[in-house]
């Protein structure tokens, strides 16, 4: 499975529609496989981000505030969305892997994932 988290610096971006970076992690047997990568988006926009999520075949999205229409769209596409998450993206992903992450969670800890940046086409 793939987890995609909207990113602002190293934290979950406060807004889905304003996010310009995402962190994508591949999860194999409950562990992050390989190096998670950061994708820079051409610009903010919910529609473009939804397209990227579908293109990347992510099965879980971790984000901040998201509008109902886009939330429902992703759910309809059978993608789980954990929204209103605050805190470092790496820790949020770690909690999501262990099924501990809930909507509205405030994740507080220190620790970062090493990421490799690429630009979305």
């Amino acid at each position: 499975m793939k987890i995609l988290a909207t990113l602002q610096h190293n934290d979950i971006a406060p807004r889905f529609d304003l996010a310009t970076e995402v962190l994508i992690a591949r999860i194999v047997r409950g562990r992050i496989s390989g190096e998670p990568r950061t994708v820079l988006l051409p610009g903010p926009g919910s529609d473009e981000l939804c397209s990227l999520i579908i293109r990347e075949e992510a099965s879980l999205v971790i984000c901040g505030g998201i509008e109902e229409a886009h939330f429902q769209y992703l759910v309809w596409k059978k993608i789980e969305v954990i929204d209103r998450v605050i805190g470092p993206a790496d820790l949020a992903i770690a909690q999501a892997i262990t099924k501990q992450l809930r909507p509205g969670a405030i994740v507080r800890a220190i620790g970062r994932l090493e990421t490799k940046r690429s630009v979305a086409s």
Partner: protein, 469 residues
């Protein structure tokens, strides 16, 4: 003890005071981390003040303003309260437009600075602004009693599914009213299809309205949906219904009664759910008497009838529309035109507008295009307006001689008499303009032509015409 009670009889906690305010309020530090939030903001965000403490405010609020936004930074740098409009995404995943006001406060003694962030829901104001912008009916403007009656009738028309017949002279806004009725109705989210019955020959119109099957006639290479099918769920507006050929009137009547029809060349009935609005500038009753319009169709269409008044009967609306169109075209053409001069306004007030609002719109568009300054003068208006008003004044003079004049004509005559004598004809105005342009450019024909917005040849021809060459 007693003295203390007198000087400070009641000192509630700050948070209790903030909880009583019906706006979101947060106290944030210099880095815009939450120190405390009032209950309203807690409900809005879904986080408690305790949970949110120490977290950057944009993360808690899910706001369009980041902590590095200029509004926040400006407050820190200048120490002056700043506000700006943005939005947040609330607990219910709804985007709420907000006015953010940041006010710096300094702690007495310690000198520590903090910020009070107030979030005011401005959704209602934005909705009001939008409604004000659109008016009672999108694109339809008017303060006159006759238009007010129409605006009052609009919700009634929108609430029902009955056929509406809109009558009125050309250019009175029949199309706009039809669309406004559609938009305000429960069919508003479905298509609004407009068909001009006078624009197409009978055979084409039938195909246009009801569609055809492949091979129904020469050139029908593929199946085509008619406008009735395209308007499924919505509204079809048949304008110039008085021009609908008799054979099609029968078919239309059948559609209205049965809600189904056969497309051209098809053996399969098509069922439609469409509301019909019709419009015409003709007198349908008279057409019925002349045998040009079916009486049964007339009764079927004439369920709800609205008559749009001509502009000359809309007291006070000319000025309102002038201002509206002036602003619209000045913005659209990026011109600095601000107003009309008093004589130009008097001239437009006295004009009879046979083309109604559409004509007034065109006159203002002409004026904004021609005017090179900030004020549209009489000479910037189309020549025919002046000619028509002059003609009207001559007619009034004749009427005066016959001993009868009504109040409207009195006004027109007064307005015309106030137009300066030296602008009595368009030729005179044009001649004056040419001379002024030549003087301005020191006799340079190229410069004068450019100033007048003409080609050199046009200027030369006009100069010859006015014996200036």
């Amino acid at each position: 003890m007693l003295e203390t009670e007198q000087t400070n009889p009641f000192s509630p906690d700050l948070i209790d005071i903030l909880n009583g305010v019906p706006h979101g309020i947060a106290l944030v530090d210099q880095d815009f981390r939450i120190i405390m939030m009032n209950r309203f903001l807690e409900a809005l965000t879904g986080y408690s003040g305790e949970e949110a403490s120490g977290i950057y405010c944009d993360q808690v609020l899910h706001s369009s303003f980041g902590r590095n936004s200029s509004v926040f930074r400006q407050t820190v740098e200048t120490g002056v309260s700043c506000s700006a409009e943005g939005d947040i995404i609330g607990l219910n995943r709804k985007k709420i437009p907000m006015r953010f006001t940041v006010t710096p406060i300094v702690e007495p003694g310690e000198g520590r600075q903090a910020m009070v962030l107030v979030l005011e829901d401005i959704a209602v104001f934005q909705e009001l602004d939008r409604k004000k912008e659109l008016g009672p009916a999108k694109g339809l403007l008017g303060h006159s009693p006759k238009m007010q009656e129409i605006f009052e009738l609009l919700p009634v028309l929108a609430h029902t599914d009955s056929s509406v017949l809109i009558t009125g002279e050309t250019g009175t806004g029949k199309d706009l009213l039809a669309e406004a009725v559609h938009q305000a109705s429960k069919r508003g989210k479905y298509p609004f299809i407009k068909v001009n019955c006078g624009a197409l020959p009978e055979s084409l119109l039938e195909s246009e309205l009801f569609g055809h099957m492949r091979g129904a006639f020469t050139g029908a290479h593929a199946d085509k949906h008619g406008m009735f099918q395209l308007a499924q769920g919505g509204t079809i507006f048949l304008t110039e219904i008085g021009d609908l050929p008799l054979p099609l009137q029968v078919k239309l009547l059948t559609v209205l009664d049965d809600r189904e029809f056969f497309p051209l060349g098809s053996q399969k009935k098509v069922r439609v759910d469409v509301r019909l609005i019709t419009g015409t500038h003709r007198n349908l009753k008279q057409l019925v008497q002349e045998g040009k319009f079916r009486e049964d169709l007339f009764f079927r269409l004439n369920v709800l009838r609205v008559h749009l008044p001509p502009l000359r009967e809309r007291v006070g609306d000319v000025r309102l529309l002038i201002d509206h169109f002036l602003q619209m075209f000045a913005t659209s053409f990026k011109k600095n035109v601000k107003m009309l001069s008093a004589p130009a306004l008097r001239l437009l007030d006295s004009y009879c507008y046979p083309g109604n609002v559409r004509e007034l719109r065109n006159i203002i568009e002409y004026g904004v295009n021609i005017c090179r300054g900030e004020i549209i003068e009489v000479e910037h208006l189309p020549p025919y307006v002046l000619a028509d008003v002059s003609k009207a004044s001559r007619a009034i003079a004749v009427t005066r001689q016959s001993g009868y004049i009504d109040s409207g004509e009195k006004l027109a005559a007064q307005a015309v008499s106030e137009i300066p004598d030296n602008v009595s004809s368009w030729s005179a105005i044009e001649k004056t303009n040419i001379l002024a342009a030549l003087v301005q450019t020191g006799g340079s024909r190229t410069g004068a032509a450019k100033a007048l917005g003409w080609g050199r040849t046009t200027l030369w021809r006009k100069m010859k015409e006015y014996e200036l060459a």
